[in-house]
Amino acid sequence: MSNSVISVISRFLEEYTSTTPNKLKVVDAYLLYILLTGALQFLYCLLVGTFPFNSFLSGFISCVGAFILAVCLRIQINPQNKGEFLSISPERAFADFLFAHIVLHLVVINFIG
């Protein structure tokens, strides 16, 4: 059983490194970073309690929001999905990504206290 899991994972990793274009890998690295940051914040909250609850929330939501926006960007610039996003060029996707981030950061900074 575990054998098949390991083999599935190694195959997946192999295919990932060979087939994904570099651009997407850059975005994936960014996604990993955001994920780790969010997870660490959550861990801290579990350990020491939610004292400045607003600060915890804004930090955590910032990570979650950034993750979601980055995922959207990744979907939109993936050349394999071009058929579904005919009207949205990669540049447009990136511009949307930046604009959404500005709004997200405005709200996060307002709430962080």
Binding site: K25, A29, T37, F51, E91, I102, N110
Partner: protein, 631 residues
């Protein structure tokens, strides 16, 4: 036909309402007159104070002491070039006999020159009064012309009052028409306070001077002033409510007003008051009234009579049209001769004899008091099942029963008595008829009410079983008292009738009676401030801050490994502008966190954002073009 009848009823009800007229609440009692005289008799400091003192004392009818000294003082203080000085000197010398002020042609010229449109109203008043007092001729037409012109320019209350006083000094044939109308105008300006007071907002002196001026001018032209009876009484209330006066001018104005209201030709307010309390009894059967004017001078020619008197309780009329007899300045009526029952009576008294009298119908509440006697006081101990006969003991006031009574749980203690009026023998029901039991040892007392039955026989019964909670079940010897009291009784009674020994079952240990501790300081409340939340130690939070920043390092490493670079960076202006704008946005976020509020941030965001957007748009368009070219 119906409408006119309704109208008639309406008018009738209005007149009936008007019949509840204002009654004088204040006047100058003899003590007040003495106090006023005292104030006015102070030694003079200057000519004006001499004027106020002398005029005030003269109006009160008091003698001015030492006329010669006053005359000397006036002559020495006189300044013949000043209109004010001449006025004060002239008026004062006129009030005291045998004092002549020397008059020269210059004096006369100065005074006549002051009578013109260009002088102030006060100046005109003083000049005309001085001319009149010194016996110099005055041209009425000029004066009235000047007054009318000044009234238009100086519209205030004191000025118009001075105009009225000036007009009263002119010869009677002058044409006063316009000036007389000013009395009505000024009356309209008075402030009505609660229907009781009527006064000018300028104060007491203005109101008092107005009254003096209005009546002196009205007397002079022999025309009734347009003041209604109610208004006159309200003015009386306002002027005489103040019993200590701030200045000589105020005091002399009050004295002048009092004189004007006592002796003018049209309205003389009457003050009716009972001498002492308005109470009659067998020992004092006459009701005595003082009928005076506002200065407490008795009205000699008055006829006082009781229009009607009725009992407040039963509303039956006792007296009708009964006259008072004048006895040594006091009006008396022997009320007890009609043998009224004790209680309160409402009298309506009318003062007649002079058509000028104002407020000559008054209501007075008179009390008839009497003495009470207790008769047929029977005390008994009654058995509850009434198997054993009752033992009744008669006690006579004020002695005490010789043997104490005993009552335990099987017996009731009973009492019956009658209260009668000593003089008439009528049964009375006073307000307070209490039975008090006082424990001699513990000091506890219990009070009950004795109630009369339909035949006015008082009965009281004490059921020891039922009432044991009131006594706290404490057995012992209790003193028995009867308390009788009422406002109309002259001899309230506290009578120690007997001693009663009460025996209760289930006796508790007699607790000492503690007074209720209501007014001791209460325990102090300690305020608990909000505890700050528990925070983790700084080491922990610093560690985690470092931990959270570590994925960023990982990101940089990964990007480096993937070969992400900025080699494609084109140094076009839009690119640079975009990156600068983007950096500025991030900086704005930090500044927002530390310094700004949302509104300021939005403002800056709009500016930087639009620049960044335009630059970024340009840059990305260029990039897109480049990408399409590559394909």
């Amino acid at each position: 036909m119906d409408r006119s009848r309704l109208y008639g009823w309406f008018l009738l009800s209005l007149t009936l309402a008007g019949a509840q007229a204002v009654t004088p609440a204040h006047h100058l009692s003899l003590a007040d007159v003495a106090r006023l005289q005292n104030l006015l008799s102070q030694p003079f400091t200057d000519l004006e104070s001499a004027y106020h003192s002398v005029i005030g004392l003269t109006k009160l009818g008091a003698a001015v002491p030492d006329h010669d000294q006053v005359c000397q003082f006036i002559k020495s203080q006189l300044d013949p070039t000043s209109v004010d000085s001449i006025f004060f000197a002239a008026e004062t010398s006129q009030a005291i006999s045998g004092c002549e002020i020397p008059v020269s042609n210059e004096t006369r010229d100065i005074l006549l020159a002051a009578v013109s449109e260009d002088s102030s109203m006060t100046q005109i008043h003083r000049a005309v009064s001085a001319l009149s007092s010194l016996g110099l001729p005055v041209v009425s037409k000029e004066v009235i012309g000047a007054l009318t012109a000044r009234i238009n320019k100086e519209d205030n209350v004191m000025a118009i009052t001075s105009a009225l006083l000036t007009a009263a000094r002119l010869p009677q044939q002058a044409e006063f028409g316009g000036i007389l109308e000013e009395i009505e105008d000024l009356t309209a300006r008075l402030d009505d306070l609660g229907g009781v007071y009527l006064q000018f907002e300028e104060g007491l002196e203005a109101t008092a001077t107005f009254v003096t001026a209005a009546y002196s001018l009205s007397d002079h032209v022999d025309m009734e002033p347009p003041l209604k009876e109610d208004q006159v009484i309200q003015l009386v209330n306002s002027i005489f409510s103040k019993k200590s006066w701030d200045s000589l001018a105020e005091a002399s104005s009050v004295a002048s007003a009092a004189a004007a209201l006592s002796s003018n030709r049209f309205h003389v307010p009457v003050i009716v008051s009972a001498q002492g309390p308005a109470t009659v009894s067998h020992s004092q059967p006459t009701l005595q009234l003082l009928v005076t004017d506002v200065m407490s001078q008795p009205l000699a020619s008055a006829n006082v009579l009781v229009e009607s008197a009725y009992a407040v309780a039963s509303k039956s009329i006792i007296l009708s049209q009964a006259p008072f007899t004048l006895n040594d300045g006091v009006f008396e009526l022997n009320f007890m001769s009609t043998q009224p029952a004790s209680g309160y009576y409402q009298f309506t008294i009318a003062v007649a004899g002079d058509s000028r009298l104002v407020a000559n119908h008054i209501e007075l509440k008179v009390k008839v008091s009497t003495e009470v006697a207790i008769s047929n006081m029977d005390l008994s101990v009654v058995d509850k099942d009434q198997s054993i006969g009752t033992k009744t003991t008669r006690v006579d006031f004020p002695s005490k029963a010789k043997i104490p009574f005993t009552a335990d749980s099987h017996q009731n203690f009973a009492m019956s008595f009658q209260l009668v009026d000593v003089n008439t023998g009528v049964e009375l029901t006073p307000h307070q008829t209490f039975v008090r039991l006082h424990n001699q040892k513990t000091g506890q007392e219990v009070v009950f009410v004795a109630e009369p039955d339909s035949k006015n026989l008082y009965k009281f019964e004490l059921d020891t079983m039922e009432r044991k909670s009131e006594f706290d079940s404490i057995s012992g010897t209790y003193s028995l008292y009867l308390i009788v009291g009422d406002a109309t009784l002259e001899n309230p009674i506290l009578w120690h009738m007997a001693d009663v020994i009460l025996k209760f079952l289930d006796e508790e240990a007699p607790a000492t009676i503690q007074p209720k501790t209501l007014y001791v300081p209460k325990p102090e409340i300690q305020h608990l401030f909000r505890e700050p939340e528990k925070k983790p130690p700084t080491v922990v939070s610093n560690t985690f801050t470092a931990l959270i920043l570590s994925p960023f390092l990982l990101l940089l490493i990964l990007w480096f490994k993937l070969g992400a670079n900025i080699s494609n960076f084109s140094f076009s202006p839009s690119t640079i502008l975009f990156h600068v704008g983007h950096a500025a946005l991030l900086g704005l976020m930090y500044v927002y966190w530390t310094h700004l509020n949302m509104f300021q941030t939005l403002k800056y965001l709009a500016i930087i954002g639009s620049i960044t957007f335009l630059a970024g748009n340009r840059m990305l368009a260029q990039k897109a073009v480049k990408r399409n070219e590559k394909k």
